[in-house]
Symmetry: C2
Subunit: 705 residues, 2 copies
C-alpha cells in the first residue's frame, strides 16, 4: 500500500476494515496546521470587511437561525424534482414572511443578503415581491396608492403577493419596445390591458406561475389613440381564496431553467382585461378621468430605481466569489495529487505553482470586488438621500443629475464587469476541484447555474458595458471641452500631459501601488480616447450620434472593460488605506497582486501604450508568481476571514474542519443508499442481458440453388 | 401598437385574438432571405467537411433514424427526474445494443458520433462499455482472454455489460497513485481485490451504479509483498439474473451531477474479493501460477490507447461548437432589439457590430477546430496502424516511439485547448441569446453542463496543458542540440534567424495568411524559448528535472496555449488549400478571421516579441471588424453547411425554418400546461395569504404601572 490518506472508513461496518494508518497527517490536522500562524488577525479582518463587530454579530445570528431551521434546509436541493423544490421554496417564503413582519428592516436585509449566498432561488422568489413589485410601488405609486396597497398586505404578504411583469417573449432589455397595451376607456374609467400577439406575451415573470396574486404590468399607455410609452399598472391575477385566474388572464409555467429552480417563472397573456383607473401607478405620469394625460417634469429621476439592483449585484459578485474560493482553497489544502518522487507523499494542490496561479489572483480579485461593492453602495446611498429630498425647482438639480448620470454609467459597467468576473471565479474554482467539481454536491455547478442569470437580467452585460462605454466617451468629450470630471473618471482631465507618463521602475520590486494605479489610468485613458476619436470621426463623416456610437461599439466595449479594471484597483487601493494598521500588510499584498495580475493578463495595451517596456512586463509576471507564493501561506486564514458557516458554504469539499472526503461520502450515501437494484431492472436490463441475438433468427438463402 | 412581430397567436383559441398584421416580415421569411444568396455552394461545403458525399448520406440516414425513433426522444429531458432519465437512457442503450449487433462498425461509429451531439448521457453510458471496458480488453488482454470475454457477450452486450473502475475518491489524474490492491495468493491462484481505505473507494465509475455486470479494475499488483504498480483486472460485480451484488462488493450511486444525468456514475468498495488469476489482463505484464511476474519489454507502447479519447474530444469540440453556433446565429437573425429610431422596426441582433464580434470569430474558430480534428484523427489513425504491426526488435521502433511522443504531446495540448475553447463557445452562445439562454429548452445550458466534463476527464486540462508544455520544452532543447524537429513543431528548427522576422505589411490589407502564420510561429517560438530557458536556469541552479519543470509551470502553460493557437491556425490554413476552388473564398475569409482574431485577443506577446508594431495591431483589429461584417452575410448558410437536423440542434431557438418564438412557446406549453393551481396551494399558499399577523397577538405591558 502506498501513501494513502489515512483516515478510516467509518462509513462501513467495524468488522476489521480499519487498515494500518501511516504517518500522513489527517485532513483535519492539515487544515489546523494551515491556521496555526496567520500573518494577520483573522477576526479583525472579518470585522473590517463587515463594517464593524456589530454587523458581524448580526450576520452570525442570521447564519445560525438559517442553519438550525429545518425548513431552510438546502443540502438535498440537488435531489429534488422541479415541483418538490418549488414547494420547498414556498415553505421558505412563508418563513421569511414571518420575519419581515416581525423584525427590524436592517435585520431582514441582512437575512436576505445571507440567504442569497446559499439559496438564491428563495431569495429571488421573495425578492420579486419586495424588490420589484414593492419597489415599483415605492418608485411609481402616489403616496395614497402606496398606502392603499400596504393596507392590502404589500409589506407583510398577508393577502397579497406581487410579481413584476416587465419583459416579454420578444422584448427584454429594450423596455421602450414592449408591446402590451393599456388603453384608457373614458366611458368606464378603466384601462384595458391586452397582449396583442405572441411576442408580447409577458415572459420570465418570476412568481407568476405559482405565487403571485397581483402583478405590476408594464404596458404602453394609449389614450385617445395616442401612445404615451410604457407605464406601470397593477393587475390582480388570481383570487386569493381559490388561486383561480381571473377571466382574460392565462398564465403558464416557463418550466426548467439553468438555475434558481425554486423560482416559478411564468408567462402571462392578457386578453382585454379591465382594471380601474386607480390601478395605474401615477407618481409621475397621471391620467385624469377625462383622459387628460399629465406628464412629469423630471423624467430622468425615475431611472434611480434601476441602479439599486446593479449595486446589489456588484456586492453579491464579491460575496459569491468569496464563497467559491473558500471551497476551492480549503479543498486544495487537503487534496494530494502526484508526488515529487515515489515513496514520498503526494503533493497538496495548493503547494503547486500552477494551482496558486489558478486561485490566488482570484482571491485578490474577490477583495477588489468587496471594496468596490462597499464604495459603490455608499455612493448610491448618498445619491438616494439627495434625490429623495429633491423638489422641482431646487437649485442643485443639475448637480444631482450629473451625479445620477455618473452613478448610472458607473454602475452599468461595474454590474457587467463584476458579474462576469464572479461567474469566471465560480467556473475556475469548479475546474480546480478536478473531477469532484462535476458533482452536484460539491456545490459549484449549482452556484454557476444560479449565478449565471446575473449576467443577463436587469440589463444584459454586453448592453450595459456598451452603455458604460458611451458614458465614458461622453466624459472624455466633456473633459476635452474643459468640463472638469470628478470621481472615478477624474483621470480624464489634463489627458495630454498624463498620457506621456512612463514606468520608471528599474527592477521588479520598484513597481509600486502608485505606478500600478497610474498604469491602469494611462491605459484606460488611451482606450477611451481611441473610442472617442473613433466616435468623433464617424460624426465628421456625417453619421448621426446613434449610428456613430454603433460604429465604435467594439472600441466602447473595450474601453469600458479596461476602465473597470482600473476602477476596481483604485477602490481596492483606497480600501487598504482605510484599514487598521495590522491589516495593511496582507491587504497591500493582495492589492498589489490584483493590480499586477490585471496587467499580466492584459499585457497588450500596457505595451501598446508604452507604460511598461517588455522587460518590465517580465518583472510584472515574476512579481505575480512571488506574491502568489507569499499569500499562499495565508490562504486558509483568508477564507476564514470571510466567515461563512458550513451551512452557507454548502459543500463538503469546503468544510471548515477539513474532513472533506468523509463529509462528501456521507452526503452522497445519505441521498443514495448503496446496493439498490434499479427499479427498471426487470423491464430494461434483464431483457438486454438475456436476449437471443437477432442474427440467429435470419433465414439464410442459398445462392447456388 | 408599435412595430411588433407579426405572426399570429396560433397557440390560443381562434376567437378573434388575431391582431392586425403590419409590414414586418415573419421570422420564417427572414431566414429564407438569409439563405437567398450564399457566396458559396452550401451543399459542397457539407460534403467537403464530412469527407465526401457518401459520408453525408450515411450521417443523414442516422439522423433520420434517431429523429423518428420514439425511444430516442430528447426534447423532454429537462423535465425528467434523475431516476426517469436513468431509465430512459437504459432504453436507449438497448436500442444501441441492437444496432451494434446488426450493422457495420463504420455505421455504428457514425451513429455514436451523431448521438454524442444530442444525447451525451446515452453516448457515455454506451461508451463506457465499448470505449473503456472493451477498449481495455483490446489493449491489455491476451488474444485468448479477449476471445473469452467476447464469447461472454463483450461485443453484443448479451450477458455482460462492463464498466471501468480506474479513478478513486482520492486519486484522479495520477493513476500511479491509486490505492486499490490486487494481492496474489499463490495457494488458491487467485487475486484478492481490496479497497484499503476511504480514499481508495472507486469513484465516478460510469455504469457502476445501475448498468454493469463486470468491471475492469485498476489495482496495484502485489506479489510476494512486492508492489508492481497499477495493472488491470476483470471483476464481476453482479449476478446478471438478479442484479444482486457479489459478496464483498458494495456499490452506491454518486447521484446528481452537473450534466450527463443519464450516466449512472457510482462508487465501488471491494473488501477482500477473490478473482481467478486469469482475470488479470496479461497482454503486457504476466503473473505465472507460481507468482513469477514477467514485465513487458516495451512499456511505452501501452500509452497509445490514452490518445484515442483525446482525439475524439478534439473532433467533438469542433462539432459541439458548430451546434451551439447554429442556435445562436439563427436566433440572432430573427431576434430584434432596440431600434435605429422610433417608428422604425427594431434592428436584428446579427446586424449589430457587437453581436457580429461576439459570434462570427467563434464561427471561424469552429472551422479551425474542425480542420484540426480531421488532421489529428488522421495522424492518430496512421500511428495506430504502425503500432499494431510493430514487433519487438523491429528496426523502426525508435522512429515510431518519436512519433508516439509527438502525438502524445500534441494531443494532450489540443484536447485541453479545444475543450476549453468549445466550452467558451457554448457559454458565449448561451449569453448571446439574452434571457432566453437561461431557459433549459434553449438547449445551451444543458450543452454546457454536459460538455464541461470534457475539460476534466481523461486528463484534467491544466495537467494536460502542462504535459504539452513539457513536451514543447523537450522539442526546443532537442532542436537546440541539433536534432531536427518535424510536424507541428518544425518551426523550432533554426530558431535564432527565425526570431528576427518582422511583419512588413504597410497597410491592413497587406497582412496575409502567410504573415499571420509567421506571427503565430514567432510568438510561439519565443514563449517556448522563454520557458525552456527558465527550465535550464533552474537545472543550472541545481534543481532536479521534475523540480525544474515545476518551477517553470506558468511559463509551460503559457507556451502550450500560444503554441495551440498557431497549431490550429496552420491546420485551418492547410485545410483551406485542400478545399475545392469554389469553397476557397469563404474558407479563406474564415481562416484569416481566425488568425487575426487570435492576435487581436492576445496582442501582448505579438507586441512584446515585436512581430507587429502598435499601428499594425490597430490594422489587425480593423480587419477583424471588416471580416465579421463580410462573413455576416453568409452566417446562416454557414450554419446550414454544418447540416445538423432540428432533432440534433434540439433547440426551438435554432430551428431551421426560423419560427423560433412559436416553437419555443409550443415546447413549454406541452411540458407545462397553463392555468394550473399549484399542488401545494392549500398547504402553503392559502395559510400565508390568510394568516393573522403575529403582532396582533402580543400582550402589551404598561410601563407606567
Amino acid at each position: 500500500m502506498t501513501d494513502g490518506n489515512a483516515h478510516s472508513m467509518k462509513n462501513h461496518s467495524s468488522s476489521g476494515i480499519h487498515e494500518s494508518v501511516d504517518a500522513l497527517p489527517l485532513p483535519t490536522q492539515l487544515i489546523t496546521q494551515e491556521r496555526a500562524n496567520p500573518s494577520f488577525p483573522v477576526r479583525e479582518l472579518t470585522y473590517f470587511m463587515d463594517g464593524g463587530k456589530e454587523v458581524t454579530r448580526l450576520k452570525e445570528m442570521v447564519m445560525l437561525q438559517l442553519e438550525r431551521d429545518p425548513v431552510m434546509k438546502t443540502i438535498d436541493h440537488s435531489d429534488l424534482s422541479l415541483s418538490q423544490i418549488r414547494e420547498r421554496t414556498m415553505q421558505k417564503v412563508r418563513r421569511l414572511a414571518y420575519y419581515v413582519a416581525n423584525e427590524p428592516v436592517r435585520n431582514f436585509k441582512m437575512r436576505m443578503s445571507v440567504l442569497t449566498l446559499v439559496d438564491p432561488g428563495t431569495w429571488t422568489r421573495v425578492g420579486v415581491h419586495f424588490g420589484l413589485f414593492f419597489g415599483a410601488l415605492q418608485g411609481q405609486a402616489t403616496s395614497e396608492q402606496l398606502q392603499f396597497w400596504v393596507s392590502k398586505g404589500a409589506v407583510t404578504l398577508n393577502g397579497l403577493v406581487g410579481c413584476f411583469a416587465m419583459t416579454e417573449l420578444g422584448h427584454g432589455s429594450n423596455v421602450a419596445g414592449l408591446e402590451t397595451t393599456a388603453t384608457y376607456d373614458e366611458a368606464s374609467e378603466e384601462f384595458i390591458i391586452h397582449t396583442p400577439n405572441l411576442t408580447a406575451t409577458k415572459w420570465w415573470i418570476g412568481g407568476a406561475a405559482q405565487t403571485a396574486t397581483h402583478s405590476v404590468v408594464f404596458a404602453r399607455l394609449i389614450v385617445k389613440g395616442r401612445d404615451y410609452g410604457v407605464k406601470n399598472f397593477i393587475v390582480q391575477l388570481r383570487d386569493p381564496t381559490t388561486f383561480a385566474l381571473f377571466p382574460g388572464i392565462v398564465i403558464g409555467d416557463i418550466g426548467a431553467k439553468m438555475g434558481r429552480h425554486g423560482v416559478d417563472n411564468g408567462w402571462i397573456q392578457f386578453t382585454h382585461v379591465r382594471i380601474p383607473r386607480s390601478h395605474m401607478l401615477m407618481k409621475h405620469t397621471k391620467v385624469k378621468s377625462n383622459g387628460q394625460v399629465i406628464e412629469p417634469p423630471l423624467q430622468q429621476l425615475t431611472y434611480g430605481a434601476l441602479i439599486s439592483g446593479r449595486v446589489t449585484m456588484v456586492v453579491d459578485s464579491g460575496n459569491i466569489s468569496k464563497k467559491a474560493l473558500t471551497i476551492a482553497l480549503r479543498y486544495a489544502a487537503i487534496r494530494r495529487q502526484f508526488g515529487a518522487r515515489p515513496g514520498v507523499p503526494e503533493t497538496r494542490l495548493l503547494d503547486y505553482v500552477i494551482h496558486q496561479h489558478r486561485l490566488i489572483p482570484l482571491l485578490a480579485q474577490a477583495f477588489a470586488m468587496h471594496f468596490t461593492g462597499v464604495e459603490v453602495q455608499s455612493i448610491y446611498d448618498n445619491l438616494m438621500v439627495q434625490m429623495e429630498t429633491l423638489r422641482p425647482g431646487d437649485k442643485n438639480i443639475p448637480q444631482i443629475l450629473d451625479h445620477l448620470k455618473e452613478v448610472h454609467g458607473t454602475s452599468a459597467g461595474l454590474k457587467a464587469f463584476c458579474t462576469w468576473s464572479a461567474l469566471n471565479v465560480i467556473d475556475q474554482c469548479r475546474q480546480s476541484l478536478g473531477g469532484h467539481g462535476y458533482s452536484a454536491y460539491a456545490g459549484l455547478s449549482s452556484l454557476y447555474g444560479d449565478f449565471a442569470v446575473q449576467c443577463t437580467w436587469e440589463g444584459d452585460n454586453t448592453i450595459l458595458t456598451l452603455q458604460a462605454g458611451r458614458y465614458l466617451i461622453g466624459c472624455y468629450r466633456e473633459a476635452k471641452a474643459g468640463k472638469k470630471q470628478a470621481g472615478g473618471v477624474a483621470y480624464l482631465n489634463e489627458l495630454d500631459s498624463f498620457l506621456k507618463i512612463r514606468c520608471l521602475a528599474k527592477n521588479a520590486t520598484e513597481i509600486s501601488m502608485e505606478m500600478i494605479g497610474q498604469a491602469h489610468w494611462l491605459v484606460a485613458a488611451n482606450v477611451i480616447k481611441a473610442a472617442g476619436e473613433n466616435f468623433e470621426a464617424s460624426l465628421k463623416r456625417g453619421l448621426k450620434e446613434d449610428a456613430a456610437y454603433e460604429e465604435c461599439s467594439q472600441a466602447r466595449l473595450y474601453a469600458a472593460k479596461i476602465h473597470s479594471y482600473g476602477y476596481l484597483f483604485h477602490r481596492f487601493k483606497d480600501g487598504v488605506l482605510k484599514a487598521p494598521a495590522n491589516l495593511q500588510p496582507i491587504l497591500t499584498k493582495l492589492c498589489l497582486l490584483y493590480g499586477l495580475y490585471n496587467i499580466s493578463e492584459n499585457t497588450g495595451p500596457f505595451l501598446q501604450y508604452e507604460f511598461f517596456t517588455s522587460l518590465q512586463i517580465e518583472w510584472v509576471k515574476a512579481r505575480v508568481s512571488e506574491l502568489c507564493k507569499e499569500i499562499r501561506v495565508d490562504a486558509i486564514p483568508l477564507t476564514d476571514s470571510f466567515n461563512y458557516s458550513d451551512f452557507i458554504i454548502n459543500s463538503p469539499l469546503g468544510k471548515y474542519n477539513g474532513d472533506v472526503y468523509q463529509a462528501y461520502f456521507d452526503i452522497i450515501n445519505a441521498a443514495h443508499p448503496p446496493a439498490k437494484v434499479p427499479s427498471y431492472f426487470q423491464s430494461e436490463i434483464y431483457p438486454l442481458l438475456h436476449r437471443k441475438l437477432e442474427s440467429e433468427d435470419i433465414l439464410e438463402l442459398e445462392d447456388d440453388e
